[in-house]
């Protein structure tokens, strides 16, 4: 009996926690007149995709969605390759400066990147003078900074996965005549793939969710805005199109939610590793 009460309480709490998400999807599906009704109801009898269509056509959300995907995918691809190489060097080689580098990796993760907006703004401005595609107002600038922010943690996390591959495997591969390069990409890389997935999801989410740097770097080129910024632009002091805003929020949340559910096991293991090891 007491257990039944605890179960019921748990479900009620879960409902409260999930309510904002329910409200988001519900508002996105409501017809316009129900959204701007002064007496909002927690259900709708006339669900419609109008708000999604409006978000994608009128507000041009599709373009920002594509921009966000480009930035996040580029960050993930580059950070995967770089972190894999760096993690391999730090776990499988002994060399001067290795310990110092490991400590620096930890320290660097403690830097509040938000404090770096001012210097990074000017850095991107001068980078843009020589390579416009990587400078202010271009998606390249966002790729660069998020790559830098996600690398330390990605390297740190991948170390464990690389270390788990036994040394004998490399010796066997060398005996079979495989070059170091071949061993790296054809043996080691597939073996640490699960670790790469878990780390890259975190990199993806960081790049996908970023608001501050998108706001700082993409100042005048509306075509190159990413989702978080675009969503903010739709918020006007009055006359908000809440239906479209909630449809946009839904489109923005779904990819992250899917990734979270796909990798929650890896994530827990990875976070546990980050916290514990």
């Amino acid at each position: 009996m007491r257990r039944g009460v605890a179960d019921a309480v748990t479900v009620v709490i879960a409902a409260v926690v999930a309510f904002p998400l329910y409200w988001m999807v519900l508002t996105a599906l409501k017809p316009d007149d129900e959204v701007i009704s002064a007496e909002p109801r927690p259900w709708t009898l006339r669900p419609t995709l109008d708000s999604f269509l409006r978000a994608l056509t009128v507000e041009d959300f599709g373009r920002y969605l594509a921009n966000s995907v480009v930035v996040a995918v580029a960050v993930v691809a580059l950070s995967m390759v770089m972190a894999f190489l760096a993690a391999t060097a730090l776990t499988r080689f002994r060399f001067r400066g290795r310990t110092t580098m490991l400590i620096m990796l930890l320290v660097v993760q403690m830097v509040p990147v938000e404090a770096l907006t001012v210097p990074l703004f000017f850095l991107m401005r001068s980078v843009g003078d020589s390579v416009p595609a990587l400078g202010l107002n271009h998606l390249g600038s966002l790729v660069l900074v998020h790559l830098a922010f996600s690398l330390p943690f990605a390297i740190w996390m991948l170390r464990g996965f690389v270390a788990a591959v036994p040394d004998e495997l490399e010796e066997a591969a060398t005996l079979d005549g495989a070059s170091r390069f071949r061993f790296l990409w054809q043996v080691l890389f597939p073996l640490v793939a699960p670790g790469l997935v878990a780390t890259s999801v975190l990199s993806f989410i960081h790049a996908w969710n970023d608001f501050l740097f998108a706001k700082t770097f993409i100042i005048s080129d509306a075509d190159n805005q990413t989702l978080p910024l675009a969503l903010q632009v739709f918020l006007k002091p009055d006359q908000n199109d809440w239906g479209a805003i909630m449809a946009g929020s839904t489109l923005m949340t779904i990819p992250v939610l899917v990734f979270f559910i796909l990798v929650q096991r890896h994530l827990a293991a990875g976070l546990g590793g980050a916290v514990k090891s």
């Binding site: 257990r3 605890a6 179960d7 748990t10 709490i13 879960a14 926690v17 999930a18 904002p20 998400l21 409200w23 002064a38 007496e39 909002p40 770089m82 190489l85 760096a86 391999t88 060097a89 080689f93 002994r94 060399f95 290795r98 310990t99 580098m101 400590i103 930890l106 403690m110 830097v111 509040p112 990147v113 938000e114 404090a115 770096l116 907006t117 001012v118 210097p119 850095l123 790559l147 830098a148 690398l151 390297i155 989410i205 969710n209 608001f211 501050l212 700082t216 989702l227 978080p228 809440w242 805003i245 909630m246 929020s249 923005m252 949340t253 992250v256 979270f260 559910i261 827990a268 916290v275």
Partner: protein, 293 residues
């Protein structure tokens, strides 16, 4: 060890090192440098020479009244967020150990949803839920027309609630795993010795969970001290006349709205220094719980 390992290692490390030095190391150096100069709109456009101020920006910052108000607000806001997050997270972690698996799965799924919601989307949803005229909350409370974001304290409360909503799942799931990791024999032995439930919780479980509690607390402090997105979006850039500013938003506004880049950088340095103090505590806590690098 084979010869040439060092060279190979540095070849592998080169791309990552290049990115990290160029986009993290160099900016940190630049941050300090800019904070020591008078760097405003005229200097940026090349209309006036950059003037070295030494600690001038810091003197202006620490001498002004607004900085101390913002600092106090930042600490207070972070304290409420951290306290709320830990309280909700811990209570729900304990609850999760006492219910049937299906109820726990429902709770964890809801928490995962809150955790995964991007800060921008989450802030927007909460803003709409608490909208003065169209919001569901005002409809339920019968307070239609009441603006939650107008008053300083209701605005801070609303943002804090949103922050707690999206950050308690991390604490809950970590603590739940911690509680589950306590060997059943330990608890049984305590019960056999006649310890009450309360006694077991306080004298057996709490000490065992201390390392995990410490880690999630300090992690929460680091996160909540530098909240930017939620404050910026929900209070429209720091509230009316900047009364909802926290350090992070204050630095952004000084630099990019008021074009006082030197001052903005100085706030960034102060923020980094304060977080560094927490971080040292974090590393010490890790070491004390017996972890090696």
């Amino acid at each position: 060890m084979r010869a040439g390992q060092g060279r190979a290692a540095y070849a592998y490390l080169a791309p990552a090192l290049l990115v990290l030095i160029g986009l993290l190391g160099y900016p940190v150096y630049q941050l300090v440098l800019i904070s020591l100069h008078d760097y405003g709109q005229e200097q940026v456009s090349g209309g006036a020479p950059v003037e070295f101020l030494g600690l001038g920006n810091y003197r202006a910052l620490l001498g002004g009244e607004q900085f101390w108000t913002v600092l106090t607000q930042t600490v207070g806001f972070a304290a409420v967020c951290v306290g709320g997050t830990l309280l909700v997270g811990a209570a729900l972690a304990v609850l999760a150990t006492r219910v049937r698996p299906w109820a726990r799965t429902v709770l964890f799924l809801a928490a995962l949803g809150a955790w995964a919601t991007p800060a921008v989307a989450g802030s927007t949803i909460w803003l709409f839920l608490f909208d003065a005229n169209l919001g569901f909350v005002n409809e339920v409370l019968g307070t239609t027309g009441f603006s939650w974001t107008y008053g300083r304290w209701t605005a801070f409360g609303l943002v804090a609630a949103q922050v707690i909503w999206c950050s308690f799942p991390f604490v809950m799931i970590t603590l739940y795993a911690g509680i589950r990791a306590i060997p059943a024999e330990v608890l049984e032995a305590a019960a056999l010795d006649g310890a009450s439930t309360r006694r077991i919780a306080l004298s057996v479980m709490l000490p065992l969970l201390r390392p995990i509690l410490l880690v999630v607390t300090i992690q929460s402090i680091i996160w909540d001290f530098k909240v930017f997105t939620q404050i910026y979006i929900m209070t429209g850039g720091g509230g009316i006349a900047g009364r909802n500013l926290v350090l992070n938003v204050y630095a952004y506004q000084q630099a990019f709205a008021a074009s006082e880049y030197g001052l903005g950088a100085a706030i960034g340095v102060v923020m980094t220094a304060l977080l560094l103090l927490f971080t040292l505590g974090y590393l010490r806590a890790l070491r004390r719980s017996g972890e090696a690098l």
